[in-house]
């Protein structure tokens, strides 16, 4: 019994998957409220699926890339639940799950890219073949800096929708869903692939300026 969630976008998304199918799933928008939304949503999705925490055997979490503060809410929740329940936790690149979702929904039939909102007028970007296998990325880039051959092709995700002048062929799904994250993880596990750990994909260094020494209060 798998609990999957992702907090790498403006949404919080949670699903329970029994290894064959998604039993329950919820997605809520709330860019500044990941911390308030996630735990109650996990409780309600488990309730809806009729699954107690003790029945969980695995946790799968999206490791981004995504805005740091929200991303960390998902990662610390996954790590601590794993420790408290003594079950394994695995990480999946959120853009990979998003790509798999696009393929599963039939949104693409040729190679494509996924672009999500990185704020500061940038996008998180990765490119995929037509089966949803990642070719390049993820990186954080200005839309104008994206290879025109990629930007002109089909681009999935809210990052594409935000910059229509650059991404002419923007398509849905705009946000990743935990149901698809879980389904993607199960498919990977069945195929014998190793999923990753829960190291966050920050892709940016913290903003910080090394101290320049003391400031004088009197004129030298």
């Amino acid at each position: 019994m798998i609990l999957a969630f992702d907090t790498s976008s403006v949404a919080v998304t949670v699903a329970v998957h029994d290894g064959k199918a998604v039993l329950a799933e919820r997605t809520e928008l709330g860019a500044q409220a990941h911390g308030e939304l996630l735990a109650p949503m996990i409780a309600s999705v488990l309730g809806e699926a009729g699954v107690g925490v003790a029945a969980l055997t695995e946790i799968v979490v999206g490791v981004g890339p995504g805005p740091f503060t929200g991303l960390r809410v998902g990662l610390v929740t996954a790590r601590v639940m794993s420790a408290a329940l003594a079950i394994p936790v695995r990480g999946v690149c959120s853009l990979d799950a998003h790509a798999a979702q696009a393929v599963a929904e039939g949104a693409v039939s040729t190679p494509f890219a996924v672009a999500t909102d990185a704020r500061r007028k940038e996008v998180y970007l990765a490119t995929y073949d037509l089966t949803g296998a990642r070719i390049t990325g993820p990186t954080v880039v200005l839309p104008a800096g994206v290879d025109p051959a990629v930007a002109g092709g089909p681009v999935i995700g809210e990052g594409a929708a935000l910059y229509p002048a650059v991404f002419a062929d923007a398509r849905g799904p705009r946000l990743v869903s935990a149901g698809c994250l879980a389904t993607y993880a199960v498919a990977r596990i069945m195929a014998g692939d190793e999923l990753g750990d829960t190291t966050p994909m920050y892709l940016r260094r913290p903003d910080a300026v090394e101290s320049a020494g003391r400031k004088r209060v009197t004129q030298p």
């Binding site: 610390v76 408290a84 030298p220």
Partner: protein, 348 residues
Amino acid sequence: MTDQPLVLGIETSCDETGVGLVRGTTLLADAIASSVEEHARFGGVVPEVASRAHLEAMVPTIHRACETAGVTLRDVDAIAVTAGPGLAGALLVGVAAAKALSLSLGVPIYGVNHLAAHVAVDQLQHGPLPEPTMALLVSGGHSSLLLVPDVTNDVRPLGATIDDAAGEAFDKVARVLGLPFPGGPYIDRAARDGSIVIDFPRGLTSRRDLERHRFDFSFSGLKTAVARWVEEREASGEPVPVADVAASFQEAVVDVLTRKALLACAENGVEHLVVGGGVAANSRLRAMAQERCDAAGVELRVPRPGLCTDNGAMVAALGAEMVSRGRLPSTLSLPADSSMPVTQVSAH
């Protein structure tokens, strides 16, 4: 003993990841991971650096606390967590971790105020907190004088800093004197070899200031006065007597803090003073507070330095007190509140 609930406390309001385990008023474990060294080259705490460090330290610190206490997470009866005030992104990591524990273990969660936790921690060392008590909390983030009729429910701010926190003044003066960050321990050490020979200003102690800001503090003018004094020395080509400057600066800070704390005790008829926060580790503050409390007939309670700086045990201590007084737990939608008012002891 074992019939008292086991409470796990999580603290992530600044740069320390703290996980404490408390049963009743007995401290079982106080595990800390600090990112202070990562901030040193920036001359202050960088919020994003602190938040990243909290994420990495959380699970190892929880495990370390359990090992020290000889318990497993399954034994925990309630979770307490700092809900505020503090750095927003840092608080959020601790609050999310606490919710994950509450959800996984099926136990209640108490989101509590960081300042009240600084007061409650004294119980772990000196036994049940006498109420009402006066609390002087001084650190890099706060300088507050609180009247505490009930640490779980009724905390009244009498005064606070109107500019820099006391600990901040220590950091800034340390920089002026070429001492490392964080400045508190280095100033304290340097001051031991110095004499109190420079009369630095005592902020908000004039007759007029005492009317408007009776129990408030101000350390910004003092910090500037120290910098000006040092720069004048340097300009005249004379060596700076670091030990004397450190001792004189420290004396000015400690004099104001203890003078106002004792005045507050006297005016409110309070006979117990708890001192907490990182600056409570300062040896001169401890000595002067003891002298003045003795003279005034006030009982001074200062926890050992490890309990004064930010830690998880203080949060567990307040959580345990909330449980024992039957206070209502928080919900899973408990928000982290970076500017949580001191009057609000718990969040829901």
